[in-house]
């Protein structure tokens, strides 16, 4: 049924147009524009214009003449000077590398975890699926900052019961050391977003026609076989979607390291690309280089999403 529905909607526009002209009704007209105008206006104001502003200011340089800029400010086209400065900054490059390492580990772990949880919850073997779904999903409703505040209390020696418990069995845990703090952040991110990604996958699982499961049952397929041959292939789009969003999210990481900064000396002001851009803009007041950094972050995110999508498309064809 769903398939036929898709086919009709695919053909919808053209057949409707024919019918419309046949019936002589003047449907459409300005209506679509009226409907989309509010969205479009706001989209232009908050997406298109800022992007243009960012690209524009990333190519300009503001010079203040006089000791305190009292002799006026001149803005001039600077070609790739700001980009060169951003790319020459070893700390900024290191922060991107750090996020790549973070993403290579954290994203697969989270996607695998949320897929397993979704499959288990949707299998008939799970008791109280509603409760578990709510429990896993709960952290998504807790803002990243507040989640980080929470976890930071569980990371700080003296306050953390986790460290106390581990010490009781002879384990020395240091969540905030230079080599471990990145994974402590990964834990917070995984904790926050696993339930959210799980919900996207569950939504896709629910759209699988029941007939397929029944056919599999008739064929005597095991749960494992159903998961591998029916569910996993059909939730691929959801997996691709959640992975792309996770990649983009990884490069945007900001709140968690910024909040942990006060308890973890290992996190410097350029720990993540976004933290770096924020510092450049508001601590050094160099908006142009910050704009160049923002553009670079977006480009890297685009590039990674694109490469991932290409990779998955090639594998499916």
């Amino acid at each position: 049924m769903t398939a036929t529905e898709n086919i009709t909607t695919e053909q919808g526009p053209s057949s409707r147009r024919r019918r419309r002209t046949g019936a002589g009704s003047r449907a459409g007209g300005s209506a679509p524009w009226v409907l989309i105008a509010p969205f479009l206006a706001l989209f232009i104001l908050t997406f298109i214009l800022p992007i243009i502003v960012a690209i524009g200011s990333s190519f300009t340089r503001v010079t203040r003449s006089g000791l305190f800029g009292e002799e006026g400010v001149t803005t001039q086209f600077a070609w790739f000077q700001n980009y060169a400065q951003a790319l020459a900054d070893g700390n900024f490059i290191a922060s991107i590398g750090r996020m790549l390492l973070f993403g290579v580990v954290q994203v697969p772990v989270m996607i695998v975890l949320c897929t397993i949880l979704a499959l288990l919850l949707e299998s008939a073997s799970a008791r109280w699926p509603g409760f578990f779904r709510a429990a896993y999903f709960l952290p998504y409703g807790i803002p990243g900052v507040i989640a980080t505040i929470l976890w930071s209390f569980l990371y700080v020696p003296g306050l953390s019961p986790v460290i106390d418990v581990a010490a009781a069995v002879g384990l020395q845990l240091d969540f905030l050391g230079p080599s471990t703090v990145l994974w402590s952040i990964a834990n917070i991110v995984t904790w926050t977003y696993t339930g959210y990604n799980m919900m996207i996958i569950i939504a896709q699982l629910k759209s699988i026609p029941t007939e397929l499961y029944e056919a599999a049952k008739v064929d005597g397929a095991s749960s494992w076989r159903v998961a591998r041959s029916i569910q996993l292939p059909l939730i691929r789009p959801a997996l691709v979607l959640t992975t792309v969003f996770s990649i983009i999210g990884t490069l945007q990481l900001f709140a968690e390291p910024q909040v942990l900064q006060t308890v973890a000396p290992a996190i410097d002001s350029q720990y993540t690309p976004n933290l770096s851009a924020y510092t450049t803009a508001f601590a050094y007041n160099d908006y142009n280089v910050a704009a160049a950094q923002s553009v670079l972050i977006a480009l890297v995110a685009f590039l990674l999403s694109f490469l991932f999508l290409r990779f998955t498309n090639r594998r499916s064809s």
Partner: protein, 319 residues
């Protein structure tokens, strides 16, 4: 996206459905009662699966549990007693009243700000995304594909990448550090429009729109009475995504706002937390504030999670 997922199954499904209509109806009734998606079940498997799920649940619930316990303690107990159990004195009410009364009740103000940003922002954003998605799905007009392409690109643009330039732009417009500076960007949800378009494509039947037209309803009226109603399940999803997205947003308000009276709760609580090193009493203010801020969202998540699904109106025309 869902369409591509469904296509491979299309042929078998159709052959089954045309073969036996009444059997399908019986199955649909059965599906409503409760889905049976497994190939078989056994008590041992139920116990194993449930045990795994329970262990994972502990991981997700421990921080929330910890904050409930921590909020009941005095600052001395917080450091002196086991974090996973209550301290010697039960100071929850003292802590909460301190949270609510500190600095002339600024916590309530932050909370109200968050409600304003998230509530108003999500409501309007959902409406705009619904109208836009419906227009893109149900009309053919010049520029449709360009707009959709742009919006799709917008889904992939990191939110924090636009926040800095948006601040520069809003500073020039003179609306940085106002309610508008956080509210305006919250009104746009490219992902919401994307979802609404897919959903409108799959569920809002063209023949229904035609019927509305024949009855003489205007296009806008058709959208408001018919489109919005059929799209409700998707709209609930978009609304919730946007609500949580705005509620959780930190970078945008951090960049835009300097007046602490305009802060949402995220910014406000972090402001308190950053003072714990100098003034230990802020530990209790922060944990109490975190607890109070989590409660409404936790209730909302549990109550609303049943709405986090699509496909509820499939077959609205056929029935």
């Amino acid at each position: 996206m869902t369409a591509t997922a469904r296509t491979p199954s299309g042929t078998d499904t159709r052959s089954v459905t045309t073969a036996d209509q009444s059997a399908r109806d019986a199955r649909r009734a059965g599906r409503r009662g409760g889905p049976d998606r497994s190939a078989g079940r056994s008590p041992a498997k139920t116990i194993l699966v449930t045990a795994i799920l329970a262990v994972v649940a502990v991981y997700f619930l421990v921080p929330a549990y910890w904050v409930v316990i921590a909020a009941t303690k005095t600052t001395e107990d917080l450091f002196a007693t086991n974090g996973f159990w209550f301290g010697s004195t039960f100071a929850l009410w003292d802590n909460l009243s301190a949270v609510l009364s500190y600095d002339g009740g600024v916590f309530l103000r932050w909370f109200a700000n968050s409600v304003l940003y998230a509530g108003v922002g999500a409501l309007l954003a959902t409406y705009f995304a619904a109208a836009g998605g419906y227009a893109l799905a149900k009309y053919v007009f010049r520029g449709r594909d360009t707009i959709f392409g742009l919006v799709l690109g917008g889904v992939l643009v990191p939110g924090t990448a636009t926040a800095l330039p948006l601040f520069l732009l809003f500073s020039q417009l003179g609306i940085a550090n106002t309610y508008w500076s956080v509210l305006l960007p919250s009104l746009v949800s490219p992902f919401g429009l994307f979802l609404c378009r897919i959903y409108a494509n799959a569920t809002v039947d063209t023949s229904l729109i035609e019927a509305g037209r024949i009855d003489g309803a205007s296009e806008l009226r058709i959208f408001h009475t018919l489109g919005l109603r059929i799209m409700t399940p998707a709209l609930v999803t978009v609304f919730l995504f946007q609500l949580v997205g705005i509620w959780n947003n930190y970078f945008l308000p951090l960049v835009m706002l300097s007046d602490s009276n305009l802060f949402p709760i995220t910014l406000g609580l972090n402001n308190w937390r950053s003072q714990v090193d100098r003034l230990p009493e802020f530990y209790e203010l922060t944990t109490g504030g975190v607890l109070l801020s989590i409660i409404p969202l936790a209730i909302a998540m549990v109550v609303l999670q049943r709405f986090w699904r699509g496909g509820l109106t499939e077959g609205s025309v056929k029935a």
